[in-house]
């Protein structure tokens, strides 16, 4: 199959296609998680048909045991396999944190480089109907843990290309999906094997007045906001795609040009990824910035159930933040 053959896929279809390609390419790719085997094929159907095609030995439905789903993936990785563990909602990674942080992330280092743990842990954020324990975006916790890579795609094409790169990467990867986007943002995706390197951001839209650095579902919120502001300002939009490795180079190139930047994400703003990214940009471009790098993340609250209590960046919040950022007098000119 070549990259030329494409199909319109949802993110779920792209996940299924990536897993199908990986299982077909390498017998060492295995999967474990709750309900992932047929007939249900995963709660979001991301693994539909795979246990039938590749066998339940390789695509294993587990009991409800998050610690041991990840723990067995760590062990299988140490045993020479490339496991993909599915942990449904990202909040449930709390159950598996010991295996992720103390074992997956640290084993290479603690063994003096003798141990390799090539595994992927897939989990979802962004559910809207479950309340505070099934919704939170926790990518900052994993960015803060040396030894892990963190991937958070925004569309079907990136989802497949990044998942394939993650599976065949020799480091443990936390691969974060978004439930709300599962079926809502279809796009053209090659049916065969292709890889998007970890650590390469995508410039989705070029602009002159301000740079928005974002990733995951917020990419769509930001693009909608930029579209509604098209008569007021020229917005450059960067989709980071991966948070570790972080493509700071692309961010710096853009902000050097626009001199104004904001980081937008769905995780809590305080101590969130935006704090680190804004600081890294400021460290490099302090004198060249018109205004301090801004952030727009989640409020410092759990995720509320009522729709009126919105914690995450909305299109309106992004529009307001961009207007404020662009209208703010330049610090450089005041000097």
């Amino acid at each position: 199959m070549s990259e030329e053959q494409t199909e319109k896929m949802t993110i779920v279809a792209a996940l299924n296609s990536a897993l199908d390609v990986a299982l077909g390419l390498d017998e060492r790719v295995i999967m474990m998680g709750e309900d992932i085997a047929d007939p249900i094929g995963g709660v979001m159907k991301a693994t539909k048909g795979l246990s039938t095609k590749y066998g339940e030995d390789r695509v294993r439905a587990t009991p409800i045991v998050e610690q041991t789903i990840v723990g067995s993936a760590v062990g299988a990785a140490m045993g020479g396999y490339r496991p993909v563990a599915e942990i449904m909602f990202m909040d449930f990674l709390c159950q598996a944190m010991d295996q992720i942080i103390n074992h997956a992330a640290k084993s290479r280092f603690m063994s003096g480089g003798h141990t390799t743990v090539p595994l992927v842990v897939r989990a979802m954020v962004g559910s809207s109907n479950f309340g505070a324990q099934h919704s939170q975006a926790l990518e900052a916790w994993f960015m803060h843990t040396p030894g892990l890579k963190v991937v958070m795609p925004s569309n079907p094409y990136d989802t497949k290309g990044l998942l394939l790169s993650s599976i065949f990467d020799d480091d443990p990867v936390i691969f974060i999906e978004n439930m709300a986007m599962s079926y809502s943002v279809p796009g053209m995706v090659p049916t065969g094997d292709y890889r998007i390197p970890l650590g390469e951001a995508a410039v989705l839209q070029e602009g002159e007045d301000v740079t928005v650095i974002t990733y995951g579902a917020e990419v769509h919120t930001v693009m909608a906001a930029a579209e509604s502001l098209v008569d007021e300002m020229s917005v450059e939009v960067i989709d980071l795609r991966t948070l570790v490795p972080l493509d700071l180079t692309t961010c710096l190139e853009s902000v050097t040009k626009t001199r104004r930047a904001i980081v937008v994400h769905g995780s809590t703003q305080f101590c969130g990824p935006g704090a680190e990214i804004a600081t890294l940009i400021t460290d490099e471009l302090f004198g060249a910035l018109d205004v301090p790098v801004a952030r727009l993340g989640g409020t410092y609250t759990p995720i509320a159930f009522a729709k009126e209590l919105e914690s995450l960046p909305t299109e309106d919040k992004v529009v307001a933040a961009l207007r404020e950022l662009v209208e703010r007098p330049s610090v450089a000119r005041q000097r």
Partner: protein, 338 residues
């Protein structure tokens, strides 16, 4: 082997060479523990130490029962386990000193010995965390169609951890080639088993998961070897997992220099009567399997090995400061950012 040093002539025992090796491993574990503690008391060794005193017989039995291609996951109380895999004492001690000559270049420490070539896949400092990983290694062995077994060792305290019970269930459900070796030393840190478990019969608890589960006298290296040998052979031939509860007693404090005054005197005295190495020596000699001259030779070899190991460790250079940023990722290019 009975308490008086006799064994039933009809019961299988390892070869004479293996018996000698078992005795030497038991002595080496004891010598390593005692010298490391002395070094720590003198302030020359800054490392967390978890003595294996009391478990030496179990470790020696494991060393003979396990085959070269079997794999092990151990815990922080790992000196005897590591020696049972044939890992040289010198690299273990060098790791304790944080030196380049250690099993992990000094980056892991006493709690994190790894030697993939000798089948010590990992050791964890987190109580109970080895069991889920052993399920994964068992899965890998089963998928490989390999005739290798996985041993995970842990103390009685680990059986309180939730993920241990997840692992028991999954190993049984998937019929994995895992032998869960509980080195029951009767103490979870500083709390006795009878105070933290309503049912202190751990083998009985684990049997309910649908796997073979039994208790064995861990102070009897021959009985322990026979039980482990059966469980490992069963695992290798597709017969599924086992839980083996080796009943011993911790002959020292929880950690190298910790308070042990709370241990009931009579209990400790009774356990010291069962001290594995002296009993093994008495039995080897009285049964005529190994003569006194050869035993003295083994003892001298152990002393020399321990001397050499500590000298090697102390002379081994520390890791270069650049080592700090190595081994965090498979490739450090552009991480965390470029």
């Amino acid at each position: 082997m009975q308490e008086n040093g006799e064994t039933q002539a009809t019961e299988a025992i390892p070869s004479r060479e293996e018996l000698e090796w078992m005795y030497s491993i038991m002595l080496l574990a004891k010598a390593g523990d005692e010298r490391a503690a002395a070094e720590a008391r003198e302030g020359r060794l800054q490392a967390a130490l978890y003595p294996v005193r009391g478990l030496e017989g179990v470790c020696a039995a494991l060393g003979v029962a396990m085959q070269a291609n079997d794999q092990m996951i151990s815990s922080y109380r790992n000196l005897g386990d590591a020696l049972s895999r044939g890992i040289p004492l010198r690299t273990i001690i060098a790791e304790a000193y944080g030196r380049l000559g250690g099993t992990s270049k000094g980056k892991g420490g006493t709690m994190h010995l790894t030697d993939n070539e000798r089948g010590l896949v990992t050791t964890t400092g987190v109580v109970g965390s080895g069991l889920p990983m052993a399920v994964g290694l068992g899965l890998a062995a089963q998928l490989d169609g390999a005739d290798r077994a996985i041993v995970v060792t842990f103390g009685d305290g680990s059986t309180s951890i939730g993920s241990a019970h997840e692992a028991f269930n999954l190993a049984a459900l998937w019929n994995l080639p895992v032998v869960f070796v509980c080195q029951n030393n009767q103490w979870g840190e500083h709390t006795p088993l009878s105070s933290y478990a309503a049912n202190p019969n751990l083998a009985e608890r684990v049997a309910s998961y649908g796997m073979a589960s039994e208790q064995v006298d861990g102070f009897d290296p021959m009985a322990t070897w026979r039980t482990l040998d059966r469980a490992l052979a069963k695992a290798r031939s597709g017969g599924g997992p086992s839980f083996v509860e080796c009943l011993t007693y911790r002959l020292t404090g929880h950690s190298g220099l910790s308070d042990y005054s709370y241990v009931p005197e009579a209990e400790l005295a009774a356990a010291l009567e069962r001290d594995p190495a002296p009993n093994m020596r008495r039995w080897l000699e009285s049964s005529g399997l190994v003569d006194a001259g050869r035993l003295a030779e083994i003892e001298a070899e152990v002393e020399a090995t321990a001397d050499e190991a500590f000298a090697f460790a102390q002379e081994s250079p520390p890791p270069h400061p650049d080592e700090l940023t190595d081994d965090v990722y498979a490739s450090g290019e552009g991480i965390p950012f470029r």
